[in-house]
């Protein structure tokens, strides 16, 4: 008990003021005391009645015994003394019947035995006494007082019952302590030990009573609790690690991350967000997001609603449309991509939002740069052809609907090639740059000026009637004419041929307009250059030019449909056997019906529309593929000549292509001879020189085709390290009859021999010409005299 009450705990609430056994004992005790007293009262009342009854019975018994006694004495001794008899027996009678005193009255005599006190209870009775004869006698018996008796009875009874109750209470308390308090306090001790961290402590399960049952139950609960706690600890650890990882991730990622509460107040900013916004995490905490992150439209500078606020309003991911920029605290703008998403708890309620800011300045600058490069010409800064066509498309949209009139100028420079050839590409580029500036100043604000390619420019004149377009075109022509280009002490006059096309409700097809402009420009050139020519559908010159375009389409179709075929024509040695076997590869085209089309019909169109490079590559690849089928004779050197056009020579990738293709098909380069025309070589002199030099390293040979047709053939011959000179057929064809032609052939042959260059005469058609050539020392001859061109291989076999 003392243990129990003195057990101290940290908290006053934990103190047990009245233990359970004490309470039970107290209740039982008090109850028993009360019940005991009630029983006592009841029993005492009964005892009082019983006492009175006993008194009367005792008196009656006394009277009877006295009668018997006196009668016995009288019979044995007639003369007995009644008083004496009564005196002799009064004492034992008093003791026997618990009589304090009695009074006997007989025949006027009165005898008193014992001390009579006022508190004694008296009982009067009569009896028959035989004395001489039967006489009436009266007796008064004095019993102890009822009050006194009851008091004694009370004391004894109360003391007994009280003692019993007290004893019972103490025993009960002890028993209760053993069965309740002791196991209870053991459980308390176990619980306290568990609280102190001794997790292995368990409640005593050995008892078979409710405490044992409770202990087993609690132990199971503790085991479960510890298991859950362990899992919880693990979860906490995992969660902590996850949180750390998330924080480190947020700290490390390259995007700015801002988290806010559900009312838009900033809770966290990672370092990138701090850098982008110009605010620190501490300073921005609990501040409304729109006061820290101010987003504007990058294109027009308009303030945009913060996506995080929109996200919180609509409970969905939000990102502004268009290009966004962040207005920093220092007033600077940063191009950003921004998005905001709501953060939800496990019940799906929105508990805040997260905003991600990505600095896209670099990417956006690159995009701008790429966009600029995609739409502008790098050299002049003007729009390029692609952009020009886009603007043209836009302009054409409203032509028919709104009956507008536009005009398109197609400008081609007249003397550009001379500048390029004589002063190099740098000069040509500079000329184009200066002309770009000049042209820009000559058109109206809003007119679209573009470089369409090479030395071609285009001007789109929106809402411009024909006469106005003519004036502007003429003004441009005049300006270009008056422009004098100076490069390293050399001055050049430049001209411009301008084709003009009117765009109206009758003429608004994009492909037609560009084609018509090109045709008109070409016509202007054909008509003598430095002029403006308005497109006329009935123009014969234009019709001819249309023929070229028509042929270009045919060439393209044939190319796509594999209708190009290769022929070979032998080149015979005139200086005896032992020399190499030569042949020249020629190209033909088949029409849709399979008829052969001669190169004179389609090559000009292919040259005009930049198809030659493609055709030449096709030829090279197919010759390399089927080289073994061409002029292959055991023990004799073979030379296969392939023509290269001027456009192909200008192709920067041609050298790599030839090398790669040759290696692919294991071609012996010393069997390959490339023929380049004199004009093509001169037109791309630097590139031609480089190509010849590099391919000669591989073993290739070079022939200068159509030599003599140009004006300055001999001058350039010194600079071109070719192996063969092919004398232009126009000199050879009539040399028998024309002494000048014959002299030209002879001169070329001599020069070639002096320069250790072998000569080949073209167009040899008869025996007499051949004899002249042989006499002159020409090394090789080629022409119908030796045979018609033969087909090398069917195209389908390629």
């Amino acid at each position: 008990m003392n243990n129990l009450s003195s057990r101290s705990t940290e908290n006053q609430k934990d103190k047990i003021t009245f233990t359970l056994p004490t309470k039970i004992t107290g209740i039982v005790f008090w109850g028993m005391v009360l019940i005991g007293f009630l029983i006592s009262v009841y029993v005492l009342n009964l005892k009082e009645s019983e006492l009175i009854s006993n008194y009367e019975k005792q008196t009656a018994a006394l009277v009877h015994e006295l009668e018997a006694l006196l009668d016995h004495e009288f019979q044995s001794n007639i003369a007995y003394d009644m008083r004496k008899v009564l005196l002799q027996d009064s004492l034992w009678l008093q003791e026997k019947y618990d009589i304090k005193a009695f009074e006997f009255s007989f025949g006027g005599e009165r005898y008193v035995f014992g001390d009579i006190k006022p508190e004694f209870r008296s009982i009067k009775s009569s009896l028959h006494v035989k004395h001489d004869n039967y006489l009436e006698a009266t007796i008064v018996v004095y019993m102890p007082g009822l009050k006194e008796s009851i008091a004694d009875l009370r004391k004894n009874m109360l003391l007994s019952i009280g003692s019993l109750v007290l004893l019972f209470g103490l025993v009960l308390q002890k028993i209760l302590y053993r069965v309740l308090s002791s196991p209870f306090m053991n459980m308390v001790d176990s619980a306290e030990a568990f609280i102190q961290g001794e997790t292995k402590v368990r409640f005593d399960e050995s008892r078979e009573d409710e405490f044992g049952y409770l202990s087993r139950f609690i132990n199971r609960a503790l085991t479960s609790l510890l298991k859950h706690q362990s899992e919880l600890e693990k979860s906490k650890l995992d969660l902590f690690k996850e949180k750390e990882r998330a924080e480190v991730t947020l700290y490390s990622i390259m995007d700015g991350v801002i988290t806010t509460s559900d009312d838009g107040r900033i809770q966290y900013m990672n370092p990138v967000a701090e850098r982008l916004s110009g605010w620190t995490n501490e300073r921005a905490r609990d501040i409304q997001i729109n006061k820290v992150i101010k987003i504007v439209n990058e294109d027009n500078g308009e303030r945009l609603k913060n996506p995080l606020e929109q996200c919180l309003e609509k409970n969905e991911i939000s990102r502004p449309e268009g290009h966004s920029a962040l207005l920093r605290a220092d007033g600077e703008y940063t191009s950003i991509e921004v998005s905001a998403a709501p953060m939800r708890n496990i019940e799906g309620q929105v508990i805040g939002a997260v905003m991600v800011l990505q600095d896209v300045s670099h990417a956006r600058n690159l995009t701008r740069q790429l966009s600029y490069q995609a739409s502008h010409d790098a050299l002049t800064g003007l729009y390029n052809r692609h952009m020009f066509e886009d603007y043209l498309k836009i302009a054409l949209v409203n032509v028919q609907a709104e009956n507008r009139h536009h005009a398109l100028l197609y400008i081609d420079l007249d003397q550009f090639k001379i500048v390029n050839d004589t002063c190099g590409h740098m000069a040509g580029d500079e000329l184009l740059r200066q002309l770009g500036v000049l042209l820009k100043g000559s058109v109206r604000d809003g007119d679209i000026l573009a470089r369409l390619g090479g030395d071609e420019f285009g001007v789109l004149l929106e809402n411009c009637p024909v006469d106005m377009a003519g004036k502007i075109a003429d003004k441009i022509r005049q300006l270009v004419k008056e422009f004098r280009f100076v490069w390293q002490d050399r001055a050049f006059d430049i001209g411009a041929s301008i084709g003009v096309v009117c765009i109206n409700a009758d003429n608004f097809e994009m492909s037609n307009i560009m084609s018509e402009a090109d045709v008109a420009c070409y016509t202007a050139k054909e008509m003598g250059r430095n002029r403006v020519h308005f497109y006329e559908p009935t123009d014969e010159l234009l019709a001819e030019h249309h023929g070229l375009m028509h042929w270009a389409n045919i060439v393209n179709d044939a190319f796509m449909a594999n209708r190009l075929v290769l022929y070979k024509q032998p080149i015979k040695s005139l200086q005896g056997a032992g020399l190499e076997r030569h042949c020249e590869i020629l190209i033909r085209m088949l029409d849709e019906d399979g008829n052969i089309i001669q190169p004179g019909a389609f090559i000009p169109a292919a040259e005009r529309y930049n198809l030659m490079s493609k055709i030449d590559r096709w030829v090279i690849r197919n010759i390399f593929t089927h080289l073994e089928k061409i002029e292959q004779i055991e023990g004799q050197q073979r030379i296969v000549a392939i023509n290269l056009s001027g456009a192909t020579l200008a192709d920067d990738d041609l050298l790599d292509f030839i090398r790669a293709t040759g290696r692919e098909f294991e071609v012996a380069f010393n069997e390959i001879c490339f023929e380049i025309t004199e004009t093509a070589a001169i037109g791309n002199l630097s590139k031609a020189l480089y190509l010849i030099k590099e391919l000669k390293k591989e073993g290739c040979r070079f022939a200068l085709d159509d030599f003599g047709s140009g004006l300055s053939s001999f001058a350039y011959l010194k600079n071109l390290p070719v192996d063969y000179i092919k004398i232009d057929g126009s000199f050879v064809k009539d040399m028998v009859n024309d002494p000048i032609d014959r002299a030209m052939v002879e001169a070329i042959t001599r020069v070639g021999h002096v320069m250790k260059i072998k000569t080949i005469a073209e167009w040899v058609e008869d025996e007499q010409t051949l004899a002249y050539l042989r006499d002159m020392g020409v090394d090789y001859a080629q022409g119908y005299y030796f045979g018609m061109p033969e087909r090398v291989v069917k195209i389908k076999e390629l």
Binding site: T22, F29, W30, F37, L158, G162
Partner: protein
């Protein structure tokens, strides 16, 4: 001396008085109870003072009052109140002993039992009524 011990002694004395009809002692006890209740000089305190004089440091005489009820309505101490109540009841019931003879006996046993068990319903009721 604790109040619990005091109640045990007082109960025992009451039973002795009743059993042996020590009327003078009964009235003496009633007087002491009233004295304690009125003056606050309750016997455990006096025993404590006495103990300090005769046996300093002894824990037997040391008075260990129970903590007062927090938030009580009256400033009057419950122990003093208890003594006045018990004294009054004893005086009345003993004076009319013939009629209320069982009350003094009941009180004697009850107080003695309170001393043994440590639970006194009257004291609890007094505290419940708001005495500190």
């Amino acid at each position: 001396m604790t109040n619990r011990m005091y109640r045990g002694v007082l109960g025992a004395l009451l039973l002795i008085c009743l059993y042996f009809d020590f009327t003078w002692l009964m009235y003496g006890i009633i007087t002491v109870l009233f004295f304690e209740g009125i003056t606050s000089l309750i016997v455990p305190k006096l025993v404590d003072l006495f103990g300090r004089l005769v046996a300093p440091g002894s824990s037997f005489f040391e008075y260990k009052p129970e903590p007062c009820s927090v938030g009580s309505r009256f400033g009057f101490e419950s122990e003093r109140c208890w003594r006045l109540v018990v004294g009054s009841m004893l005086l009345v019931t003993y004076y009319y002993y013939d009629m209320l003879w069982f009350f003094p006996w009941f009180m004697g046993f009850a107080i003695f039992g309170a001393g043994l068990s440590g639970v006194c319903p009257v004291l609890l009721a007094i505290r419940w009524a708001g005495f500190k």
